[in-house]
Symmetry: C2
Amino acid sequence: MDADVDFCPMCEAMQLLQEKWMLHIIRALLEGPRGFNELSRSSGGCNPATLAQRLDQLEGLGLVSKTVLSVMPPRTIYDLTPAGRDLRAVIDAIHQWGQGHRANLPRTVQLHGK
Amino acid sequence: MDADVDFCPMCEAMQLLQEKWMLHIIRALLEGPRGFNELSRSSGGCNPATLAQRLDQLEGLGLVSKTVLSVMPPRTIYDLTPAGRDLRAVIDAIHQWGQGHRANLPRTVQLHGK
DNA sequence: AACCGTCACTATATTTTTTATAGTGCTATG
DNA sequence: CATAGCACTATAAAAAATATAGTGACGGTT
């Protein structure tokens, strides 16, 4: 019955992407699959609690896959699914905007891991 | 001397866009100039304190212009500058992704004003 | 002319979110 | 055999966002 007349995919997408570290995590994963701590570093320093909750969320939405390789010692690999990889367009748009507007941006000094 | 070897425009851009309400505010302004309360509504319900601080920030970065039309009663107009309007590419990318992945998104029910 | 709503905010207190820190049990490396 | 790394979780503290109320003047209703 009450269909999603008031359901706006873009709003939901913005809601998701505006969460702290979300964009950074996705950008890091676009460079390749990563382990938990590795991802924390290459995202620019996301703390473990937040990272864990973001990854749960992304996994729940089917944007990230989690693979446990060995149980002891724990070894986990996070990777983007095709749906997640499609976010590259968004990251690229941000990248391009950033390049074209360096002048406008502040220097908060926040560099992503090598 | 110490040049911005460690200054990454994309990181700064992501830092900015991930702030709560930022994307929503920009999307609303892309539809046309708005007054303060009007913007609060069409952004989807941003609270005045946060909205004021985001607008200050955007104005400071030269992405939004603030024009005071009359002092009493106060009448203010916020609009995107050319640099701000360039963010349309980002919003569009999110829009497209959202459309293509409705299935993945949650239904948080959060609709922007008419 | 008294009343209500609107404008653009600010101040305050409360709630939510993010954060740093420490710690888990195990193994590979030095 | 001490150290560092793995993937996290728990906890408490700090930071950010929020609801709410209020400012003072105007425009529109009654």
